[in-house]
């Protein structure tokens, strides 16, 4: 068990800066997900922690120890690789026992720990097979078993589920989450799959272009994205973004979109008057009304995608395309007119220039503590 701290980590490859001045603290027993598109530096950051890459600047502390210049074997970490990296020339038992043998554990201890890890991952009947004789999903289990068998202080996972098919991935996601909770090991988990990040992590560090742009709980990342990048990357469908500005002619501030205006009774919002803004709103925070009314925005239905649990509409209002999620019984005709109500409490404001979120004192929903 150990906490992990990164101080101003930099890593460059030639002229490309892969990790740019990253600070991150992971508490003992915490499960942090590094989430970002490919090439954002998340895997490089993980490899810096593992000691597989030498950092060009900054320090790595594991359990309070400065590990910046330690080789991987002295960092008390274990890693699960995207390709699983199961040794093809060793039987499963010897694969799982590899780290324990390197630590010169006595035979009885090795036997016991391999059995323990194999049982946790339900591969105890396969231990005398070679990796070529088992399925991809089972190989993935071997990789996890091998990593947890050594009882390392920190568990590193580099896209461990991305090579599994969709159904198996969903199954393994829940299983892995339960398993890691049971073990209580500090875990840093890299993925580009935002569903995985939302569903598994205690906290999510969203990365873009070598930097951590937001570090929050999954719900905070979903509901309060730090900028338009995070809002557009996290969630299916991504957050809707509309060009907007605010005028105050009467007592109530008026939100002007390209497709219409609606009043928003919030003095905080009134203070944004005159700025060029981006309004961000999730698909499920938009209510579809069948007729025109006070505070509604007119829109044209473009596409209706029935998804079983709900329907996903693509609608057009003014110059903007929006994704709107509706209950499954609502089937508006394509090209028909509908009216949208944007839930006031779930509207987020970003600066149009920088894309950064503009924090407002929000009496309805205080930010979830991260």
């Amino acid at each position: 068990m150990a906490d992990v701290r990164f101080h101003a980590i930099r890593k460059t490859f030639g002229k490309v800066t892969a990790v740019d001045d990253v600070d991150l603290e992971v508490a003992d027993g915490d499960f942090v997900v590094l989430l970002g598109p490919s090439g954002c530096g998340k895997t490089t950051l993980l490899r810096c922690l593992a000691g597989l890459e030498k950092v060009d600047g900054g320090r790595v502390l594991i359990g309070g120890r400065d590990a910046t210049n330690l080789p991987p074997r002295r960092r008390r970490i274990a890693m699960v690789f995207q390709s699983y990296a199961v040794f093809p020339h060793l039987k499963l038992f010897d694969n799982i026992a590899f780290g324990l043998r390197m630590q010169k554990e006595p035979k009885t201890v090795i036997r016991e720990r391999v059995d323990f890890a194999a049982k946790l991952l339900h591969i105890e009947d396969l231990l005398d097979r070679y990796p070529s004789q088992i399925s991809g999903g089972q190989r993935q289990r071997v990789a996890v078993a091998r990593a947890i068998a050594t009882k390392a202080d920190v568990l590193l996972m580099d896209e461990p589920l991305s090579n599994l098919d969709a159904l198996l991935r969903m199954e393994m996601r829940a299983e892995l989450k339960a398993l890691l909770r049971q073990l209580g090991t500090t875990t840093i988990y890299v993925t580009h799959d935002q569903v995985e990040a939302l569903s598994m992590g205690d906290r999510i560090a969203v990365m873009n272009a070598g930097r951590i742009v937001q570090l929050d709980s999954p719900l905070a990342v979903y509901d309060y994205p730090a900028d338009t990048f995070v809002g557009g990357f996290v969630g299916t469908p991504p957050m809707n973004f509309l060009a907007a500005d605010i005028s105050r002619n009467g007592a109530v501030p008026l939100v002007n979109l390209s497709g219409g205006s609606f009043p928003l009774d919030d003095p905080e919002v009134g203070r944004l008057a005159g700025r060029r803004l981006v309004l961000g709103i999730r698909a499920e925070a938009i209510v579809v009304e069948p007729a025109a009314g006070e505070g509604l925005i007119e829109a044209t239905v473009i596409v209706v995608e029935p998804l079983g649990s709900h329907n996903l509409l693509t609608v057009k209002t003014g110059d903007d395309l929006l994704k709107v999620s509706t209950p499954p019984h609502l089937f508006p005709e394509p090209d028909s007119l509908i009216w949208l109500r944007l839930e006031p409490g779930r509207i987020r404001w970003m600066d149009s220039e920088s894309g950064r979120a503009i924090p407002l004192a929000d009496p309805a929903a205080a930010p979830v503590p991260g």
Partner: protein
């Protein structure tokens, strides 16, 4: 079961086995004829039409050949030279191949090219300087001298084949070993090396055969301590054909044995099938 499909599969199998049989015959018939001649008496060798089945096998020719002059000594020297060459070439060439496969370093491509480039110079034009250098070093006419020359001949091949062998071993496997307690060196020994073994075995076979068959450098660098091919070449120039066949058989047999011994490393590994 679908009869037409199985018929097609059956035809395919006939074709595969037929081709394999033809190929095998192409290689085995000359070997068979040579072996036959090596173990026939002089008259039978000259007999016409040729008998394809052995008749009155005799080890007379073979025995005469083996007991002649320094043949056995030359055989011993050849084995020693081939083994030294094999060890030297693999010990020097494998790390070079590994480095080429794993690390991007300045001049890597140049090195790769120059490795091949060494084979661009025919050994004939190098023969005089080579002989002079070896005499100066005092390794002319010795087993060690021939081994060094053979190592130089075999090295480019070893470097390039081992480079491609190691390129086929995922670096993530070694990294996994390093996170599990290995240093770079132990990760190489425990993971990369065993996985590269089939490729290294193929490389070893090739080195052995290069050295075993090499006659030019061996003839050039030795006088009284010749290796087998050099000795056979010198001895049999004016000898009757059956002695030549005996010499040929004698040259061939050991390399066949070596291939048979190393062969199992090439194919049957880690439950991955294949006989």
């Amino acid at each position: 079961m679908n009869p037409p499909r199985s018929a097609v599969a059956g035809l395919g199998r006939v074709f595969v086995y037929g081709s394999a049989a033809l190929l095998s015959l192409f290689i085995l018939i000359p070997i068979y004829l040579m072996t036959l001649a090596a173990f026939s008496s002089n008259e039978d060798t000259y007999a016409y039409p040729k008998e394809l089945l052995p008749r009155g096998l005799s080890t007379e020719t073979m025995r005469f050949f083996i007991n002649f002059g320094g043949v056995l000594d030359a055989l011993q020297r050849s084995v020693i030279v081939a083994v030294i060459t094999l060890v030297l070439a693999l010990v020097i060439g494998t790390p070079a191949g590994y480095a080429l496969a794993r690390f991007a370093f300045r001049g890597g491509d140049t090195l790769r090219l120059s490795v091949v480039g060494t084979r661009a110079f025919p050994i004939v034009i190098l023969s005089i300087p080579l002989a002079v250098i070896f005499i100066r070093w005092g390794v002319d006419d010795t087993v060690l001298g021939v081994s060094i020359a053979h190592t130089a001949l075999a090295l480019p091949f070893v470097v390039l084949t081992t480079a491609s062998v190691f390129a086929g071993v995922s670096p993530e496997l070694e990294e996994a070993a390093m996170t599990l307690g290995c240093s770079r060196a132990t990760a190489f020994v425990k993971v990369a090396l065993p996985l590269a073994l089939p490729g290294l075995a193929a490389s070893a076979i090739f080195v052995f055969i290069v050295s075993w068959n090499e006659v030019f450098a061996a003839s050039l660098l030795t006088l009284r301590h010749r290796t087998l091919p050099a000795e056979v070449l010198a001895l049999l120039e004016g000898a009757p054909p059956n002695f030549r066949f005996a010499g040929g058989f004698f040259l061939m047999a050991p390399s066949v044995i070596v291939i048979l011994l190393i062969r199992r490393y090439l194919f049957s590994m880690w439950g991955r099938v294949l006989k």
